[in-house]
């Protein structure tokens, strides 16, 4: 089935129009007042130092990597779930092997304390 590109174009344009209209409307109707204090990161407390290109704590990236890998797993589960009913036991065994191997990875991550938030 070839998707008709009219739908794609309508979807694209309506996405742009919806977002753009929201920004435009709020730009015209919102009251605006600018001053130096307002543009700071925190409005009260001690004055902020440095730029806002703030460096996060290295070490949280392991969660992002684990997320990406299990996202791949979920993407492969999706077409399997669609045909699960028709295919019966063999499909079930195949997906079980798939999940078993990746479950080993999850177990390893758990064992190595990679899932702990510190």
């Amino acid at each position: 089935m070839v998707m008709s590109s009219e739908n794609l174009v309508i979807y694209f344009i309506s996405g742009i129009v919806l977002v753009g209209a929201g920004i435009l409307v709020s730009h015209f109707f919102a009251p605006s007042s600018e001053n130096l204090q307002k543009s700071e990161t925190f409005e009260c407390g001690i004055p902020t130092r440095g730029t806002s290109w703030f460096q996060f704590k290295v070490g949280y990236y392991l969660f992002a990597i684990l997320f990406l890998i299990f996202e791949v797993e979920v993407v492969f589960l999706f077409p399997w779930a669609v045909v699960m009913k028709e295919s019966g036991t063999s499909a079930f065994i195949e997906i079980f092997i798939f999940l078993f191997i990746l479950g080993g990875g999850l177990l390893y991550a758990w064992k190595k304390n990679a899932l702990r938030w510190e």
Binding site: Y61, L62, I65, L68, I69, V72, F76
Partner: protein, 104 residues
């Protein structure tokens, strides 16, 4: 079938591939090198899909090849970023030309 000659699709993927190669050679920052690699992989996947669609429409080989390329790219990006961050922790920079010191 949509009325686009396959030569145009292949031209797009070829140009994307060699733009990726260009970036791979000229860039120094490890992240931008990784991005160029993603361009190259993406061009490869697009090529497989185009050949599948135009010459062998009776099966889905190119489609599955592109699917596996995307998964391999995900695994590759995960490992590459783990390595880049480990390098950053040891050397405090991620410039490919300044990291010339091996473990000794």
């Amino acid at each position: 079938m949509i009325h686009i000659p396959i030569t145009h699709l292949i031209s797009i993927s070829t140009l994307m591939f060699f733009i990726g190669i260009y970036g791979f050679i000229t860039r120094k920052n490890l992240f931008t090198i990784l991005m160029s690699t993603e361009l190259v992989l993406n061009a490869g996947a697009l090529n497989f899909v185009a050949f599948n669609k135009y010459f062998y429409p009776d099966n889905l080989q190119g489609h599955f090849f592109a699917l596996f390329i995307i998964s391999v790219a995900a695994a590759e990006a995960a490992l590459a970023i783990a390595i880049i961050i480990a390098i950053y922790r040891n050397f405090k920079n991620i410039d490919a030309e300044k990291i010339n010191e091996m473990k000794y």
